[in-house]
């Protein structure tokens, strides 16, 4: 297990390789479909949000509003990342992201952006909403809550020891590409046998 703490410098990120298991601590921002489309269409990040040397988390959490107006996160696993494939490379390039947490992996455009700008894709455990919510120690803030609704808003989270696996590194490697090639070959062999 590799401890990865904010700020997520290019040096720390480039040292990671596919298959590394990491524990992430520091500030991460959620952002999913609506946020990516908005940024892609030229939208600006709200005041207070910076992705510079930061990590974005593809997640639509369950948040419970408390009497004092603060929020507690009660469920927060990753959502499927491939839907952001048309936009992610641009958000990495323009906003200085160093990490993308999600699930299911991403495609060639994101893989190329990770290599060029120094970013990694961090695969969370899909569906493990409780284990991952336990790692969220505080909900610091929320942005675009009215505009996009709760699951699609930008939530600023303070996380400690959030577990993930590096499945796309900053050197052009992808575990997803590797597993796809192997499973395709295995399936082709299986059909040949019949």
């Amino acid at each position: 297990m590799i401890k990865l703490s904010f700020p997520f410098s290019e040096e720390k990120i480039r040292a990671l390789k596919v298959g590394d298991e990491v524990l992430i601590s520091g500030t991460v921002f959620t952002g999913r479909d609506a946020v990516h489309k908005y940024l892609h269409e030229g939208g600006a990040l709200p005041d207070g949000v910076s992705f510079k040397d930061g990590i974005i988390y593809h997640c639509g959490p369950v948040m419970m509003k408390q009497a004092d107006g603060s929020y507690i996160c009660t469920a927060a696993g990753p959502t499927t990342s491939i839907r952001e494939e048309p936009y992610q490379w641009q958000v990495i390039r323009d906003f200085g992201l160093r990490g993308v947490i999600g699930k299911g992996g991403m495609g060639a455009k994101t893989q190329a952006a990770c290599k060029e700008y120094g970013c990694v894709y961090l695969h969370g455990i899909g569906g493990a909403a409780q284990v991952l919510a336990e790692c969220i120690k505080k909900v610091n803030n929320v942005y675009f809550l009215e505009k996009f609704g709760s699951p699609e808003a930008i939530w600023e989270l303070a996380v400690v020891d959030f577990p993930a696996v590096v499945t796309i590194d900053a050197h052009g490697n992808s575990l997803h590409e590797e597993v796809l090639a192997k499973s395709q070959a295995a399936l082709a062999r299986g059909f040949d046998c019949r």
């Binding site: 298991e21 469920a75 299911g104 493990a128 399936l187 299986g190």
Partner: protein
């Protein structure tokens, strides 16, 4: 006014029979009887409301025993220390944590699908009304995420109720029993569902069981990583495009360790499960021995021109529960 009383008054204001009685009744006894009836209806609905909220809570927070058993067996089977084993360990921890905290196993509490078997003459309208109310209240309690979006405006009003949401599949049977099954199906796994129209030239899949096999295994290959594997397949061979998908989802109501009574389908189920687990896709697509936890297949008649294979993929966070209702509103027995 309480929720159940509101629902009862809405019932009274919409019920033609009640209106008729109000207009024609003149005597005190009739009004009294009407009042008693309204109270009984309110009681029934409040009890049903509570039963349905509890069904939603348990479905969202507790994995069914048959699914948990297979997940634990998979964890045993993976190489210790591998990415696959570590992923399944987190999955198992998550299952325990969700149950203990009575919170959603997965934050995507999914499409809300009710499968309701009712006696002849059962009031489905009142049931659906009460279930919609239960969904809204369960969302306020945090058992469900605010998860329902207006497709035209993009607005999420936070109630989880709207056109087509939740979805109801009513079925009449000749029994006094009311059985309510609930599936919460997350978007990640729903997105990797697939429908093939055979023959499929690219897959060399003809209109036979071997062609179905090729289509189903292709769906497994395409779904890798994305649907929160290891998953479960519900498949329908035949039907039209709509009924094919609908029936494929009803296969997810079967217990994972049951066997298909149709020998040809049973053989296909076992074959797909074994073959898929030899592809090396593994949990989360990390590589490993567990790609699927189960395969359930049914067949429906088709028209000569069509041959669909419809596949619904369910993630490991298989949220499926059900209750038998006693006196049609109180939970008598849990089904899974």
């Amino acid at each position: 006014m309480g929720v159940s009383a509101r629902a009862a008054s809405r019932h009274a204001s919409q019920c033609e029979a009640c209106h008729l009685r109000i207009r024609t009744s003149t005597g005190f006894n009739k009004i009294d009887a009407l009042r008693r009836k309204a109270y009984a209806a309110a009681n029934f609905m409040s009890e049903l409301l509570n039963s349905l909220i509890e069904l939603i809570r348990r479905t969202s927070a507790e994995i069914p025993g048959d699914v948990h058993k297979v997940i634990l067996a998979s964890l045993e089977n993976e190489k210790q220390g591998s990415l696959a084993a570590n992923a399944l360990k987190i999955v198992d921890q998550n299952i325990a944590l969700a149950k203990n905290k009575s919170q959603p196993i997965c934050q995507d509490t999914g499409s809300i699908l009710f499968y309701v078997d009712v006696p002849v003459g059962y009031d489905q309208i009142t049931f659906a009304e009460t279930a919609r109310e239960a969904v809204t209240l369960a969302t306020k309690k945090g058992y469900l995420r605010q998860n329902s979006v207006d497709s035209l405006t993009g607005k999420n009003d936070g109630t989880n109720v709207g056109p087509g949401a939740p979805a109801f599949h009513f079925h009449q049977h000749r029994s006094a029993e009311v059985s309510v099954k609930l599936v919460l199906k997350g978007g990640g796994c729903e997105n990797v569902g697939a429908q093939y129209s055979l023959p499929d030239d690219a897959l060399h899949a003809n209109r036979d069981l071997d062609g179905c096999r090729k289509a189903i295994l292709d769906a497994v290959l395409q779904a890798q990583g994305k649907g929160c594997g290891p998953g479960v397949l519900g498949v329908c061979i035949g039907g039209d495009r709509a009924t094919g998908y609908e029936l494929s989802k009803t296969q997810l109501l079967r217990l994972l360790d049951d066997r298909n009574p149709e020998p040809k389908l049973d053989a296909l189920e076992q074959d797909i499960l074994k073959t898929a687990n030899e592809l090396g896709i593994g949990p989360m697509g990390f590589g490993g021995k567990t790609t699927l936890l189960g395969v359930k297949i049914c067949a429906a008649n088709r028209v000569p021109a069509s041959y669909f294979v419809s596949i619904s993929y369910m993630c490991w966070a298989f949220r499926r529960q059900g209750v038998l209702l006693n006196g049609v509103s109180k939970i008598e027995k849990w089904i899974y």
